[in-house]
Symmetry: C2
Subunit: 491 residues, 2 copies
Amino acid sequence: MAKEITSREQDYSQWYNDIVLKSGLADYTAVRGCMVIKPHGFALWEIMRDTLDKMFKDTGHVNAYFPLFIPKSFLSKEAAHVEGFAKECAVVTHYRLMNDPNGGGVVVDPDAKLEEELIVRPTSETIIWSTFKTWIQSYRDLPLLINQWANVVRWEMRTRLFLRTAEFLWQEGHTAHATADEAIAETRQMLDIYANFAENYMAMPVVRGVKSANERFAGAVDTYCIEALMQDGKALQAGTSHFLGQNFAKAFDVKFSDKENKLEYVWATSWGASTRLIGALVMAHSDDDGLVLPPKVAPLQVVIVPIYKGDEQLAMISEKANVLAKELRAMGISVKYDNSEHARPGWKFAEYEMKGVPVRVAIGARDLEKNLVEVARRDTKEKMTVPVEGLSSYIKDLLDDIQVSIYNKAKKFQQDHITKADSWEEFMAILDGKAGFVSAHWDGTGETEEKIKELSKATIRCIPLDNPQEEGTCILTGNPSTQRVLFARAY
Amino acid sequence: MAKEITSREQDYSQWYNDIVLKSGLADYTAVRGCMVIKPHGFALWEIMRDTLDKMFKDTGHVNAYFPLFIPKSFLSKEAAHVEGFAKECAVVTHYRLMNDPNGGGVVVDPDAKLEEELIVRPTSETIIWSTFKTWIQSYRDLPLLINQWANVVRWEMRTRLFLRTAEFLWQEGHTAHATADEAIAETRQMLDIYANFAENYMAMPVVRGVKSANERFAGAVDTYCIEALMQDGKALQAGTSHFLGQNFAKAFDVKFSDKENKLEYVWATSWGASTRLIGALVMAHSDDDGLVLPPKVAPLQVVIVPIYKGDEQLAMISEKANVLAKELRAMGISVKYDNSEHARPGWKFAEYEMKGVPVRVAIGARDLEKNLVEVARRDTKEKMTVPVEGLSSYIKDLLDDIQVSIYNKAKKFQQDHITKADSWEEFMAILDGKAGFVSAHWDGTGETEEKIKELSKATIRCIPLDNPQEEGTCILTGNPSTQRVLFARAY
C-alpha cells in the first residue's frame, strides 16, 4: 500500500498527522500555523456545520455576519477579555503596499498607517456588543439570538492541524437577554445541543461540566464545556458555552428599558464550536488503516467497487451497481460507484478505508452469478457475503448499526478511563499509566490548581454537572474538599 | 409609517441606503468600510449561496478552505496581480499586544513583529496556486475543480453597503486544467452559471460579455463578466469568470506530466461572485416602499396577518391560518403567521412590504365568514380577494407569476436602456439622459478607452458574446472600428 501510516502504538502524534494528511482532510501551507482544509475535510465540515446550524435555527437563532476586524480599543474595553487574548492577536497596522523607491521590491507603504490598529478577530464579543448597543433599546428587542459562522485568528505558537491552528473556522453564538435566569438557561441549552451533536452525530461521548475559574473564558462569569476523551487518554474540549453575566453589556453600555420602563444592563451568553471538532473526530475513532467516520457525518457513506475482468463482466456489474446506487440515494444515503480504471480493487479498498467510508460493497462477477456481493464495514473491518435482494435495506440498517457501534466502543473506552484517585501517588500513576480522566478531590483554590498543573501537566477539565457532593481531602494539599473534579492531560 | 424612506426620484443613492438599513439587510459598524450583515440580509445570502453552491457541485466542483493570510512575497509573484491589488491591502505586521510600560494602555508589542508581513487576502489566486503546486503532478490530477466560500478584504477608500465594502463575503472558484481549451470552456461554463443564477433566481437580466484589456482582472488573459442594469441606468458587474492562461502556473511553477510524460504548465481559471449581488438585487427591483424580492431568493415568501377584534375572532382566524401555513410548507414555501399583538395590521403590512415579502395574506373575520381572504402581491401591490378553497395552490401559482413578472419588468427596462450612439454628442446625451448601456464604436485602444472614461465617467462594461461585427468609426477618435461595445456609467 502506497500510503502507509505510522501506527498509534508507535507514535500517536505522528499517527494523527499521517491520517489528516493522507486521508485528504487538510494540509500545511506556506503561512505559519495556517492550514488548508482539503475537499474531503471540508465536505466533513459542511455536514457538521449544516447539522449544527439546523439545531441552532430550530431553537430560534438566526445567522448574521460581523466584521473581521476589531478596533484595538474595543478589545480593551473588557479587562479580563483583553488580558486573555492580547498575547495572540494578529494586528493590521497598514492598508497599502508600494514599490520601494530604493529598489527593495514591494514593501508596506509607510504613509498608509492606520490611525488605530485593527485586530483580526480572535472571537467577536467586543465588535458584536458594540453593535448590539444600537440594536437593543427595549425588552421587546430581547431575547436577541444571533449566531455567526466565521474564521478567527489566534496567533498560537505551537500549532497542530485542526487541533490548534492560527486561523480556524467556527461558529460563535451571541445572545442577549432580559434576565440572568434566561441567559443561564440559554447557556445550558446550547451546551446540551453541543453534547447532543457530539454524541449522536460524531458518536463521541462527552462529559458536560463547568470550568474552574482558572480555565474560564476571558470575560465570562461561568464557562460550561463538553469534554471528550481521545484514544491516547488525553482529553479534548469539544465545545464551550459561556454565561457572560452583564460584563460585556457594561463594557459597551448596552441597556434596555424593561416593562416598568426602568433601564437595566442586558445579560449575555456566547458559545462556540470549531474545526477543532474534526481533529477530535479523527482521534476518537480512527485506526491504523486511516479514518473511521460515523455514518451520520461521513461525506461519502457507501462506496461500490467492481471486481471484473473484461468489459462484459464490467457491464453486468455496472448494471447492478447503478441500481443499488439509485436505491441507496433514494433512501438519502450518499454513494459512489468507483468504476475508474486507473486503479485496481485492492488500491481502491485501501484508499476508501483511509478516507473512512463506512461501508464498502465489492461486486465481483463470480459472486454476482450467485446473486451475492461482499459488504465490508469500515469500523470493525468485518466482511459479509450478502444477497443482492434486499441489499439496500441491509446497508441502511448496517449504517445505523455502525453509528451505534462506534459510539458504544467510544463510550466503553470513556467509562474505562474515568478513574478515582485519592492520593497524589495514585493521581500521577493513573496519568502516567492508562491516563484518561482522573476524578479527584481538590481544595477549590486557583493556586492549588496551578501547582497541580505545573507538577503533572494535568488540568481540571471540568466539574461535571450534577456532581455528587462528597467529603474528601485535596490530593495535593490535603485541605478539605466537598467534591471530586475531573483532571486530565489535554489537547 | 415609522420607517419612511427617501424616494428614488428624490435621491436614488439615499433611497438605496435607506432600504438596506430599514429593511434590516445590513448596518454600518465602528470599523471603517466594514458592514454587519443583519439576519434578514444574511438569510438572503444563505439562499443565494446555497443555490450557487449546488450549481457548482452539480458541475463537479468541490469546496475547500485556504488561509486568510498571504505572505507579501506571494502576492508579488505575478506582476500584473500585485500591481492590481497592492494599493488596497490590509497588512498584518505584528502578532501580539501588550500593556504599555509607560501607561499608554494596550499597545502593539514592538517585539512581536512578523518577519514577513502578511496580506489579508483580497483574492486567493496566489495562496491557492502555491498550494496547487503540491497537489498537481500528473494529468491524472487534472482537472482540479475547487471552490472556496470566504471573506476577503480590499481597502477601498469610498465604501457603500454591499456594493463596495472593505470586507465582503464571496465565493472564488479556482480550477486547473491540462489544456487551454478545457480551461476556456470552464471559464465560459461558470459565466453561464452566473447568468443563469442572475436571471432565473435573482430575476435580473444580464449581458454576458468579455472585458476590454483595461478592465481585465489583474493577472488574467481574459475576463468574462455578466453586467446588470440598475433602475438609475447605471451598470453593475454581477460576476466575473477569468481565463488565467498559464500566468499563475508560471508564477508558482506548477507543472504536470502529460500522457506522453512531458512536463507542461497548467492552465487556470478563477471566478467569483460576492455579497455585492445583494446590492444589485436591491437596486434592480425595489421601490419606494422598500425591498422587492423575487420569490426564489426571498427568505420569507408568504406572510399571513390576522385582522380581528377579540380572542374569539383571533381563534377562528388562527385555525385557518395554521392550516394554510401547513399546506404551504408542505409545498416547500416559507411562511410566517404573524399573530403578534405588539403591532396593528397596518404596521405589519408596511413592515413586510419593507422587507420584500412577495405575498401577503390578510385574513379578516368578516371576509372569513364568506370564506374569502385578501391576497396582496408585493411587486405590483395588487390586492386580490381569493376564496379559501384552493388558496395554497393559488399562492403557489402567484409566487411563480411574481418571479416571472419581476424578471419581465427588469428585462423590458434593460431592453429600453440599450441605446446605439454614433457620435460623441449622441453618446453623452444618452449617458446624461436616460443612461443605461450605450452601444458604440470604439477604436480598440486602451488610450481611447481611458480618455472616454475621463471625459464621460463611462467605462466599457463588456464586449457582448457573439457580438455582431460591423464597420464603423470610433465615437471619440473617428478611427475605424469593427464592432460596437457596451459603455455605461457603473457601480
